[in-house]
Symmetry: D2
Subunit: 464 residues, 4 copies
């Protein structure tokens, strides 16, 4: 088949190349944005007198029909036409005749393709933001039910200090809050219209870019035509934000896997979110949590791929940049799927609060509190730390918990210790007493949950 750019060529494209260079297999996903952009472009061309109103109407009607053809699966995508832009344009000319050829006036595929991706990504950032909020809601709901569920807080996967499970799970709320912020910031830089840059230098035709931007809902336009067609930093920024988000989700995935192990046994994942084994009849695997964890690697790889693609490319457009779309699509799909599946999974999670509590009782998680007790009696912290270290060693040898030491045993290590120690280092007291701002006390946690709920409500408006 003849290429739309074939005038200057004497030989036809090699058959291996016909399978190598086209992007239609993946960029057809952008058909809606491509048509949306073309409709706005046609309206602008008519308004500025570059084409007539009648021509614009014909073109728009044709595009509407094509959109319907694609939606209903009747459109035949042709590999030889390389990409979604040419597939649509060729079909338009088929339908309405040579006037269809006027649509590409004052436009190049270079500015058209990046326009499509901007439109696509604006929508998708919005979807991701919604899914983040959904997950935040699920977290809040899980937290609300577990303010007084005490678990051991861990550092280095060693039991450290007793905490409220709600406090722990709310940490993810705050991470997601920053992810939300990163994506909103990324949206600002995505919300810029490249159309009108032409191949790279702008055009001599009297176009009105601001009108097109208005029609398409863009807040601003690229002020330099070469920059508009050469750069893909808005995509790299999205991939970065997605990669960081995925580090958060992978950590949650890891914790769900750990907590549902027989050893921790802190939670039970709902049957609907677990899978079995083809060979071991007893197995109930945290498959979903594992996949969320694993899929972070995929998103990191997509980011790394695009950074490497963009590195060292001279301006302006190069075909290397065609590699951006599959990386982006895969990232959007992955992030959305992970966020979507986690929300109902958290909501249906069964928390084994008794097991959590028992774990918190063991492991000397109140050792810091003994040290703090001594500090309050005037012992320098560093000295108190040393005393309690020895106390713990004695407990290990005697196979006792700290609360099980007799007052004499306490006193032999520090005469400052009194009977009130037992109350001070009860697990519940240890949690409740950490009421410094941001600390794990029940009151703090309740306050934070309530603030988080207000914040969620204020976000209900989409960006688009």
């Amino acid at each position: 088949m003849e290429k739309p750019w074939g005038g200057r060529f004497k030989k036809s494209t090699h058959k291996l190349v016909e399978n190598f260079t086209p992007s239609i297999s993946f960029d057809k996903r952008l058909y809606r944005q491509d048509i949306e952009g073309s409709v706005a472009h046609a309206k602008m061309l008519a308004k500025t007198g570059i084409i007539t109103e009648e021509e614009a109407e014909l073109i728009i009607k044709g595009l509407d029909e094509i959109q319907e053809e694609i939606k209903t699966g009747k459109f035949e995508f042709k590999h030889e036409l390389e990409d979604i832009h040419m597939n649509i344009e060729k079909r338009l000319i088929e339908k309405i005749g040579p006037v269809g050829g006027k649509l590409h006036t004052a436009r190049s595929r270079n500015d058209q393709v990046t326009l499509d991706v901007h439109l696509y990504l604006k929508e998708e950032i919005d979807s991701v933001l919604e899914l983040i909020v959904d997950l935040q809601k699920a977290i809040i709901s899980l937290a609300e039910k577990n303010v007084e569920t005490i678990m051991p807080g861990y550092t280095h996967l060693q039991r450290a200090q007793p905490i409220s499970f709600a406090h722990h799970i709310m940490a993810y709320y705050y991470m997601l809050e920053r992810d939300y912020g990163r994506l909103v910031d990324c949206y600002k830089r995505t919300d810029m219209m490249p159309l009108g840059a032409g191949a790279l230098a702008g055009t001599s035709l009297p176009i009105d870019r601001k009108m097109t931007a208005r029609l398409l809902g863009f807040s601003s336009i690229y002020e330099n035509s070469i920059d508009a067609v050469s750069d893909r930093d808005f995509i790299m920024e999205f991939l970065s934000a997605a990669a960081i988000l995925m580090t958060h989700l992978s950590r949650l995935g890891e914790e769900l896997v750990l907590w549902s192990s027989a050893e921790f046994n802190f939670i039970e994942i709902d049957d609907g979110f677990a899978t079995g084994s083809s060979i071991m009849p007893q197995k109930k695997n945290p498959d979903v949590a594992e996949l969320v964890r694993g899929k972070s690697g995929r998103v990191f790889g997509n980011l790394m791929a695009l950074l490497a693609v963009m590195k060292s490319l001279p301006l302006a457009y190069h075909s290397d940049m065609q590699e951006d779309k599959e990386r982006l699509f895969d990232t959007v799909d992955t992030v959305k799927a992970c966020l979507a599946v986690l929300s109902p999974m958290l909501i249906t999670l069964k928390v084994n609060s008794e097991n959590m509590r028992q774990a918190a009782e063991k492991g000397f998680t109140n050792a810091t509190d003994v040290a703090d007790y001594l500090v309050k009696k005037g012992v320098p912290f560093r000295k108190a730390h040393e005393i309690v270290g020895k106390m713990v060693l004695e407990c290990i040898e005697k196979n006792k918990s700290l609360s099980e030491l007799t007052i004499e045993e306490f006193k032999s290590l520090s005469p400052l210790i009194e009977e009130d120690i037992y109350n001070e280092i009860s697990i519940k007291k240890c949690v409740e007493s950490r009421n410094s701002c941001g600390g794990t006390s029940f009151e703090n946690v309740r306050k934070n949950i309530s603030r988080a709920k207000e914040n969620i409500i204020s976000k209900q408006k989409p960006l688009l």
Copy 2:
């Protein structure tokens, strides 16, 4: 040497471990921030009555002396003390006695280390922003001198359309403008104080985190203590922004290399920014531009490293996170060095405008303008494109440029062409006529430069 946490241990640290776990070899770089944080912490402890004013004064005086010792190279860093925090604390106790041990009250290394990095990164983002502005100024200055310098614009490294060199180089100004924005956004999320989170759960002592934040110049504090010590997304975000910035610098580096090749010969790099060969006496190598280009890989690697480190870590702190600092320091150093060296290099660049112009005259860079000429006469763009394609083929065969075709030759391909074609497709006219918003016309370029200068002035205030 005895460890500050040694109370609970019976054996001493293995000598291989003494060389494996400590971070002092690189985190000593944070001594200034560590002391700044400790001074604020001490003041807060005194204000809230956790320690006395006298104790605070003693501590602060001791810390001031230690800072002086480090600055003047008199401080002996000890490997066995693991990190900058313990090195300073131990020395403090040496100097002022057991009261020095009170400084670590209501604080853990977990919140202390991330505080130090927040303080460090806030400063460094500010420095990077300044260097970005400097480079933008250098670009503007180069652009101002070259508004009417015509060069071929390239796509696919093929000559595409004639453009103003100022327009081309200003594309980098706009990329840097978005880099600037990304870093300002990153700053917002860096400007949050983690101190007061303790090991992970907060503290039962009556600390005043807002006071400490105020003393240290933070705009906000982490609202969840577990999040505060577990997350490093502010560093990942900085590394991402740095990686994207480096794609921009690497592209500029690539272009400087290309342009200074004998084949392009568009520029001459100043002797001060080039190097020679140990064997080939004639060589003048664009070493600096190559290194800038190459160093992007390093920054990508740092980002990838930290993403992989953070992936799947359960909350809260793990020693894996100690790997963040070297990656961050190396990225800061690399980005600053690249930005710093490019500014004077661009300012001293010699532009071979005559060679640029000659290149623009060749290569049919005005072919689109012939097509646009036909469009203005009513030919659908797609048809016009085809006619000009054939025209170019004829030129190649006859070894002519488009302007060298006779009017009869033109007419034989399209009878609509008149004598005015010659004026319409002169290279200068081609540039000047692309006056759509964002296009390369001299007038547009001048306008953009002037707007850029105003923008630069408005940025003179540092964030800190």
Copy 3:
């Protein structure tokens, strides 16, 4: 639909999970290997008496029919059945009744899936090796035609010394030779059979793994069942080898782009391997070379993704590892497509030898030869280098090449120079004289080409 592992579950899988965990959308690609493995497994089960010969025959007949159904597109893949293994097993039971359920005896999906990938990758490494050899042949053929085509050799993209174009292009032959070696080495470690590891611990049934390995053409078997199902290093190694290969192809891509620029004009890419522009009628873009260059990023990303996935996973199998396949498939497809397209592209390349030669004549590429001339007269190299540096500076000022200096001018810089200098530094002489082993002299290049051809012949046998 009921899950094959459903016995222990009370609730059915959540609908979001039905779309999240299954791998059938991509692992159906392994159907041939899966059936091949099952047939061998069934034969072994019969031979060892675990099932009867009749049962084995029934199973094998059923599998053969299923293979035909899949090949002819009649097989209905079911999402709810999760993966290719369960899809085939379920269909087998449908066809031959409960006896089909005996096929999974002494086997788990854990060893089955990695078996399939081993079988797949062995075949694909073989295909890649063949394509490497094809590309090496294309390089040799291009080299043979261009032994005496002189071009400037470049370092830092600056003209350095004159070389034979054949010598330059043969550098890629040697890189590919090492890629070949790396893949052969990777093949060794892929050619190990995991089957028989069961879920992770082996089996109590009297299986004969060596028989299965023999039937499937494996040279060795995994000696530790946990290792067999837990590790994916053979895939990581392939991705690494592919990534390194792609650095080589991307460099060739970059050079093809550079050389086909108007500035270099060293080659003309055949019309069949170039594409045009939708807007600029004159454009002929080296699209294929750009895409090859860009696709390296994709392969790097796939490698990075899998490294991140495998990092820190406890033994044995985890669902995270399901992420390996898409990364692998994409890499195999990408590498094969790039290799395949480059061979005919190189064979049809038009070399503009006259332009290459002219470029070599300029740029003082014979400066080192002047220095070597002085060395042969006894001047220490470092001193000779300095003298010639000054000579070059004088030439630049006088706008002369070195050969255009008069004998007096030469002598004024070094009295040792005689009339024979002119012959010594002619471009052709410069190439021919570099006859040290591995150097660019025509004779050397011819010898290397001839050795390379012999080597290629010796490789005609596939590994499989």
Copy 4:
């Protein structure tokens, strides 16, 4: 200071560039290799008559003295001299006069620097191989002590089947065995001498590369001079092998962290390999295991960095390639440190075999064995799986283990079950019965350990 290549330059190097381009800060680490290469080069130059024997002796004596100066810290490295090569050459000329300038005859920094790295990496691969063997020995020793230590084998971190702890830990032996193989293969491709390639084209002087290769202990030489100076695939291959190795070590690190958690409590890390907390007196953190795990990210990043650096570089040498060394050095140091610290850590590990066994008793790890029991009675595996699934569900409801079901309860689910079931599904029997090749039976494990020991002995010879 005057540059050794300064002849052609009129201005001196900008002070920012003086700090930007030099590599001496890191490549001084190669001084020994650089001198070793120079000594061999000098001997060859003398043997071939390019310099006199006396000159060679003078040069070699000078180089020996310089080596001593560097070793004893008396050598002053100069930034302005850019790199180790020029620092040594300049000093040589200082010491022995202009004859020192003859050393660089028939050599360029381009072939010299890659020679140095080849020499360095050959040594370091050898060291890494030794450390791998040491770690394998530690694993074997740990395995030998624990053949009959039963633990639960895990998939998806769920208890799956009972296994021998020795079998589990030996999985790492086999991974390391493949790592060893990969490094030996990488060594082959590192063991090629680039020297004699000159700047890129070889030389016209009558050098004898084979003699130099012999003197330096290289098995082969690069056959194409351009390839010799342009490629860094031997480094990329090493980084890949290191990255894969680190996935293995990070998995071991993760398991050590898990196993030393209070929840698993399978092992106790020796005090010498754990660290404490600055705030929590009870803590004993698996710091070393965490750092090993985290450091994998660093190595991945180094690999990604170099791939990105090498991508798309035209031939031959570019300064970008200077970025290879820091990535390589950091990787070598990291891998060696991780391997070295793990060996004594494993040897001193305390295994809590009783806890392991108790965990194996729970969690229905013998469920597959019940299914296998049914299979042996003629039930198709898929049906048996379903029956046992229901059995497990009943057990969960009745809070029983499978062995605690009465014979009636068994029979109610499958009448084929007899009294012998109790013996068949005892945990020890479950392990012992998995005696298929590669399975976990004690006998198998003992056989594998003994084979591994023989294999280790056969490896005692270093490659160098």
